[in-house]
């Protein structure tokens, strides 16, 4: 069996092997003749774009327009684009697997993998005028770049097709349109921040960088006088290979400062393709012959012959060879695989694999092999796992995994995470490699690409189910894995216009549920963009975040649902936003009728109007028959100092109050009108300000002017209660110091508020008349009031008369400490009273 496993290995030098094996047998074999077409493919097992090579004569069938056909890596037809633009210069794929078609006028058209047009950008006016003759698509750190060469020999490039910013490269010295054809070859060298173009003209080599103003001539030692006819740059942009016209291959670092090795290919002329195979070897294609040269052992080479033309697709760790019948991978045998499977290998992994085989044969020799690796068992297990990862053949994978499983049984505290992870990863890799999907990824590529991107690519190919299953199998968090895929699926679903919208909405909701991380608003937005407004409305209903839901509903002009959702969210800012839009898009009357169904919206609108639009406020109150609110509105209006028609406002308020059956308030309004009129009369009469005063204050003002008769009249008219009027009279007389008058007043009839207030005002104004009223104070308050008036002797006396110990104690607490005599007397009295009890 081990012999079979190494059958496709070829040694290059001492310890390096390269292997070439079939990935797929191509589904396109009956449709396509590879010799007449140009092929473009993306790294990481990307799809293939095929277009008739315009440099070749072929018999044209059908229309003369070129057709770009898109195939999966397994040769399955995905889509065709009938090209209707101007001449195609080059095809390429972006990092997000979009097809880039570069026209001779410098526009770059982007299509998705199913041939749907996405977007166009231009390489600038100069490029357009200059007529593009050649173009390259290259990978950069942040995505994919495009470089074009105009007929006048100028280079232009963008570093990211997602965000095209044009950079013009410096001109090559002595370059004019006339000798533009003298450029032999060129290549783009991606750098950390930007890119360089290496261009060869006859015997000169120039390096053009957008960061420099001039073209730098590059001198490469050891090249002699020959001219460079082909340049290959490795995918990571770290290595370069130059092929000269005399068949000499120079390999070195990308900056051309370091030479790794050189090799005489003895091959005639310019190769069809020259690419790096991983980072250790360069692969050239002359006609149907492949020549592999490794720089670590530059005396050796491997050559493969084909009987039909092939196309090379460089990969991170190898080269894919696309032929008419088969699709192969040529790669350096990974070291770990080599160490295990190489014939006569003595590495721990090899022994472990052998042990496992013997074990399955139920042979005792299994034990011997295990003993051989006892000391290195963890390493052996790890190596077997790794090697399994690098294999494409499932049987080999299985036997290596079995070996790992067998080996880990002998390890007491082995952490099985690595084993489980590898099993899961292989399951996913095998699934995506299947011809139905057609992504021939190696594990190295997957690690470089990340699982997330792999899921994106599956989604791009509409393998939603597989993507979800893969995400679940790899135990990705939902937000990153299945939810994201579902969201993409939903976006795809809404674009299928032939499906019933109810059905689609239901399907989507059933699948997505309230999956975390799914944004229904995005899906709805997509649906709307696809012209399916009703579906968008249905979908937006599932969006839990009102802050996303409402603006979208507004955009869809679904005002009422937007209003309902905004209110439900409780976020009043959203409600206001909806109201504002509603207001702008509806006649006022309709608007007001609309919002009256939503109390919160109504309240907020009223609040807004109160500050900004009082007239509308009243309209709405009238519309709602809210008489109380109308009344308040008029009252507020009447209080406005700028209002000249106060009485009219008050009359209106009165009317509204009456309708609201608030009779007292109506009466008060009426009284206020009368009062205002009366105050005007007073103002004329006395020549001083009255309006604005309350009734109480008006009466007081009159009393202070000693206009008692007028005050009496007002009091009768407005039915001021006795209590209040007496208080007023007392306070005013005290204020004026009319003490005699006060005494007289107290005798007019029995006071409705008692005589304590009389004493209070006297005390307050320090009037001696207090004594006049004290005898008439209620008995239980007498002591307190005598004390208040400062008549402690008398207070004491009353207290004794009332035989009240508590009162005596109170009087004593009022005494100043200097009044010894009184204090002693009170103490004596207390003692006496207490004794009696």
């Amino acid at each position: 069996m081990s012999a079979m496993l190494t059958a496709d290995w070829c040694p290059l030098g001492r310890d390096t092997y390269f292997r070439k094996f079939d990935l797929y047998s191509m589904g396109w074999q009956h449709e396509l003749r590879l010799e007449n077409v140009a092929v473009a493919s993306a790294p990481y097992g990307g799809p293939l774009a095929v277009v008739r090579d315009r440099k070749k004569f072929v018999q044209v069938q059908g229309s003369g327009k070129p057709v770009i056909s898109l195939y999966s890596a397994a040769g399955q037809h995905l889509a065709s684009i009938v090209w209707s633009g101007t001449t195609l210069v080059a095809l390429g794929w972006s990092a997000s697997e979009e097809l880039l078609c570069i026209q001779d006028d410098g526009s770059v058209l982007r299509y998705d993998i199913f041939g749907t047009y996405q977007h166009t950008f231009s390489m600038g006016k100069d490029a357009k005028d200059g007529h593009i003759v050649d173009a390259r698509v290259f990978a950069t750190a942040g995505g994919t770049g495009v470089a074009v060469l105009s007929a006048s020999g100028r280079f232009f490039l963008v570093l990211s097709v997602a965000d095209p910013k044009l950079r013009t490269l410096p001109a090559i010295p002595e370059m004019t349109g006339a000798n533009a054809g003298s450029l032999t070859t060129w290549a783009v060298v991606p750098e950390e921040r930007g890119a360089r173009v290496l261009v060869s003209r006859n015997r000169d080599l120039y390096s053009l960088s957008s960061q420099e103003t001039r073209a730098e001539p590059v001198a490469v030692p050891d090249l002699g006088l020959s001219s460079v006819i082909e340049i290959a740059v490795s995918l990571d942009g770290r290595h370069t290979a130059l092929l000269t016209d005399n068949g000499h291959l120079w390999m070195g670092s990308a900056d051309l400062r370091r030479k790794y090795a050189d090799f005489d290919t003895k091959m005639p002329g310019k190769p069809r393709q020259l690419v790096w195979c991983g980072s250790e070897a360069v692969l050239g294609l002359w006609g149907t012959v492949l020549l592999l040269v490794g720089w670590r052992s530059p005396v050796d080479s491997i050559s493969y012959s084909y009987d039909s033309p092939v196309h090379l697709v460089p990969e991170l760790d190898g080269v894919r060879v696309v032929g008419a019948q088969t699709h192969e991978l040529l790669q350096r045998v990974p070291l770990v695989v080599q160490s295990i499977l190489r014939i006569n290998s003595t590495s721990p992994g090899a022994y472990l694999l052998e042990a496992s085989r013997q074990f399955q044969k139920q042979s005792h020799r299994a034990d011997e092999y295990v003993h051989l690796v006892r000391g290195h068992l963890p390493e052996a297990v790890q190596n077997c796992l790794e090697a399994a990862g690098h294999e494409f053949n499932t049987d080999t994978q299985k036997s290596l995994l079995r070996a790992a499983q067998f080996g880990k049984c002998f390890l007491a505290d082995y952490d099985p995470t690595a084993y489980v992870d590898m099993c899961r990863m292989l399951r996913v890799l095998n699934a995506v490699r299947s011809p139905r999907v057609g992504i021939p990824l190696t594990i190295t590529q997957l690690r470089h690409l990340s699982v997330r991107v792999l899921l994106d690519r599956l989604v791009l190919r509409r393998h939603y189910y597989l993507a979800i299953q893969a995400a679940k199998h790899l135990r990705l968090p939902e937000v990153e894995g299945s939810s994201r895929v579902l969201a993409h699926w939903a976006c795809y679903k809404v674009n299928q216009t032939q499906l019933d919208r109810e059905q689609v909405a239901r399907d989507i909701a059933n699948k997505l549920g309230y999956a975390p991380g799914v944004s229904y608003s995005e899906i709805a937005d997509k649906a709307n963009n696809a012209g399916r407004r009703q579906l968008a409305v249905k979908l937006i209903d599932y969006e839990p975040r009102a802050s996303l839901q409402v603006p979208l509903l507004l955009r869809l002009e679904e005002y009422r649902p937007a209003l309902v959702k905004a209110i439900e969210s409780g976020d009043t800012d959203l409600v206001y936003t909806v109201l504002e839009q509603l207001r702008e898009n509806m006649p006022l009357g309709e608007f007001q009728l609309c919002i009256r169904n939503y109390p919160v919206a109504q309240a907020l609108y009223l609040k807004y109007c109160r500050d900004h639009n009082p007239e509308t406020l009243r309209d709405i109150y009238v519309q709602e028959d809210d008489f109380l609110a109308q009344a308040s509105f008029f009252v507020r209006e009447s209080l406005d100092p700028k209002n000249s028609a106060r009485e009219a406002s008050l009359a209106a308020a009165q009317d509204s109050f009456r309708r609201a059956r608030a009779d007292l308030n109506a009466t008060l309004c009426e009284e206020q009108q009368r009062l205002l009129r009366y105050q005007k009369g007073l103002e004329d009469k006395f020549g001083r300000e009255f309006s604005g005063l309350s009734l109480h204050d008006t009466v007081r003002a009159l009393l202070l002017m000693r206009e008692v008769k007028l005050a009496d009249k007002l009091r009768a008219e407005y039915r001021v209660p006795d209590r209040r009027y007496w208080w007023l009279r007392i306070l005013c007389m005290a204020h004026l110091g009319d003490w005699e008058e006060l005494v007289r007043f107290s005798k007019t009839k029995k006071s409705p508020i008692g005589y304590e207030p009389f004493v209070d005002v006297c005390v307050k104004h320090k009037s001696p008349y207090a004594e006049q009223f004290l005898p008439r104070v209620q008995d239980e308050l007498k002591v307190k009031y005598y004390a208040k008036a400062g008549l402690l002797e008398k207070a004491c006396q009353v207290a004794v008369e009332q035989r009240d110990v508590q009162a005596l104690l109170f009087v004593r607490s009022c005494c100043a400490p200097t009044d010894r005599e009184l204090l002693e007397r009170i103490t004596a009295q207390i003692a006496q009273l207490s004794n009696k009890k």
Partner: protein, 579 residues
């Protein structure tokens, strides 16, 4: 981190830290010297999260209040407006920005357009706590929106007052919600609670009463659902808060009406506490050794929080118990200070000196509080205060609530401050579960006559808010008073065993509800009573991140977190609930 915030059961300092970092981050993003223009209502609360010195370190040169008219700044060209999202404020901001533009010559303007600001000024706008589309639109209409380099938000909903108290500082929340039907505050509460849960973990139990409470709970649940999609880092371990109690203010209208009788409560009643700070007449607090004479009428700010040991001890005591506590403390300190005269070894002397700063601080704070207590005593001894209190207590005991009270009549006749009268009238209305039509009309007529026609609107607003209502249906207060023991006759003021000491007779209804939750039966024992209170009851269990219900932890005493914000001046009426 402020020490007084981290002492409680829940480390409130985390909230402060979060808000502070947000603010400083904002400031650091705007390099160079800058001035801040505050919305006046924010200056105080934000002062609680970051001191001026911290701002100065970030090159904030000056703070100005946001006022209409010309921007008061001349030297610094980076201006940061920090405001609540309020349309009226937006107008002022626009006016400010315009004033700058007008002040510059056309030439300078055209020059300045090159870097996208006006008159060489660079404006920034920060909304607290959240941006508002409406406000941005207003600014656009005013043509100044483009003048702002950045419009940002400072997501700061909760301002830490003390180790057991956070406030949202939404002064007009109750008015907005009850009178204008504007539920913005509920949304803000829900968001603030979200922030709190982000810091302290999902609160497993939620109870609440009233429509607003129900609404807040629904919003919280909704937000939790919305966030399920984008999980935020939640603190691990057991949640620091066990139970959330949401109360709609309309459930308990009486408590904020009653005069507070604790030490802190009285300071608030008499002088007003804002943002943990009280302004007191400076001449009363002047120390004899102060060299500068103080002008009469000048105010001195005193900070009140549990960071001060003495205040923490007496703040929640009934005022009648404060005197003895102060004198006891005085004796203790003088005894301690006297110790120095005794014979001592060097060792003891060293210990004494080490304690000295603490003792001096204590002495200082004792002097302060003794003065404050004296100021309060002047008021509480006045007959006006005592008579009002007596009437309040009569009402709370259900005495004479159904007829016009002569004392209120007398107060109106003497035109005592309207607030005092409205407070008593509303109290009578609440304790009588609505006033008889005749009584209500009498009060209305009297108040309008004495205080002017404009008060008709005030009374209307009070009616709408449910503070002053006509009688209808059964007398709920009477039932509640018995069922919840809202009035306690023999409450001891100095050594209280019941919460009733805070009002000497009355135990706040909200406090009784919270107490009931702490009992093992919870609110199940109160089913009948809860039915009498307005609005639905909330009783829910929240699971952290939708996971399985955690095993109940029975032994830990539940820090039931209730904080009804203390009363604010009466109209606009007191506040809605919080946490």
């Amino acid at each position: 981190m402020a020490s007084h915030l981290s002492g409680g059961k829940v480390n409130i300092a985390l909230v402060q830290e979060l808000a502070k970092n947000e603010l400083l981050k904002l400031l650091e993003n705007i390099p160079g010297r800058k001035v801040i223009v505050w919305d006046k209502t924010l200056a105080g609360p934000v002062g609680l999260i970051a001191k001026f010195s911290l701002l100065q370190e970030r090159e904030v040169v000056h703070l100005y209040p946001l006022e209409s008219g010309v921007l008061k700044n001349n030297s610094v060209n980076k201006v940061i407006f920090i405001t609540r999202p309020d349309l009226r404020l937006m107008d002022i901001v626009a006016e400010n920005v315009h004033s700058v533009a007008r002040g510059k010559s056309a030439k300078e303007l055209s020059y300045s357009k090159d870097y996208g600001s006006q008159g060489g000024y660079e404006f920034h706008l920060v909304f607290v706590p959240r941006k508002s589309l409406l406000c941005e639109k207003r600014l656009k209409n005013r043509g100044v929106f483009g003048s702002f380099m950045q419009v940002q938000e400072l997501p700061c909903d909760l301002f830490p007052f003390d180790n057991d108290l956070l406030s949202m500082e939404l002064e007009s929340a109750f008015k907005e919600f009850r009178l204008e039907g504007d539920p913005t505050c509920l949304f803000q509460v829900a968001q603030a609670l979200g922030t709190l849960q982000g810091l302290f973990g999902t609160i497993p139990r939620v109870s609440g009463k009233g429509h607003a409470a129900r609404h807040v709970w629904e919003l919280m649940a909704r937000m939790a659902r919305e966030q399920a999609g984008c999980p935020r880092p939640m603190p691990t371990g057991a949640p620091a808060i066990d139970h959330l109690l949401l109360l709609d203010r309309s459930v308990d209208l009486l408590s904020p009406l009653a005069t507070q009788l604790t030490y802190e409560g009285l300071i608030d009643e008499i002088f007003g506490i804002h943002n943990c700070t009280v302004q007191l007449p400076a001449e009363k607090l002047a120390k004899p050794d102060d060299s500068l004479p103080v002008n009469a009428g000048e105010k001195k700010a005193v900070i009140l929080n549990s960071g001060e040991e003495l205040f923490a001890e007496i703040r929640d005591r009934n005022f009648n118990a404060v005197g003895p506590a102060l004198s006891r403390k005085a004796k203790l300190i003088s005894a301690q200070l006297e110790e120095r005269h005794g014979d001592k070894t060097m060792q003891e002397m060293k210990q004494f000196v080490a304690r000295l700063p603490h003792m001096l601080a204590m002495k200082n704070s004792l002097a302060n509080h003794t003065t404050i207590a004296e100021l309060i005593k002047e008021v509480t001894d006045s007959s006006g205060f005592l008579e009002s209190l007596q009437v309040e207590q009569e009402f709370m005991n259900g005495i004479d609530t159904d007829k016009v009270h002569p004392y209120i009549d007398d107060l109106i006749a003497q035109q005592e401050p309207l607030l005092k009268i409205l407070r008593l009238v509303c109290m009578q209305s609440v304790t009588n579960s609505g006033l008889k039509a005749k009584v209500l009309e009498h009060y209305r007529r009297e108040i309008v006559h004495a205080y002017g026609f404009a008060q008709l609107l005030t009374l209307g607003a009070l009616e709408k808010a449910g503070l002053l209502t006509p009688q209808s249906g059964p007398r709920q207060y009477t039932v509640l008073r018995k069922a919840l023991r809202l009035t306690v006759e023999d409450a001891s003021e100095t050594a209280p065993t019941d919460i009733a000491f805070v009002h000497s007779v009355y135990a706040p209804l909200s406090a009784r509800l919270a107490q009931a939750l702490a009992r093992p039966q919870g609110w199940r024992a109160l089913q009948d009573v809860l039915g009498l209170l307005p609005g639905p009851t909330v009783d829910e269990v929240q699971l952290p991140g939708g996971g399985p219900a955690p095993a109940p932890v029975p032994a830990a005493p539940a820090p039931v977190r209730l904080c009804v914000i203390p009363r604010t001046p009466f109209y606009p009426p007191p506040l809605l609930e919080k946490t």
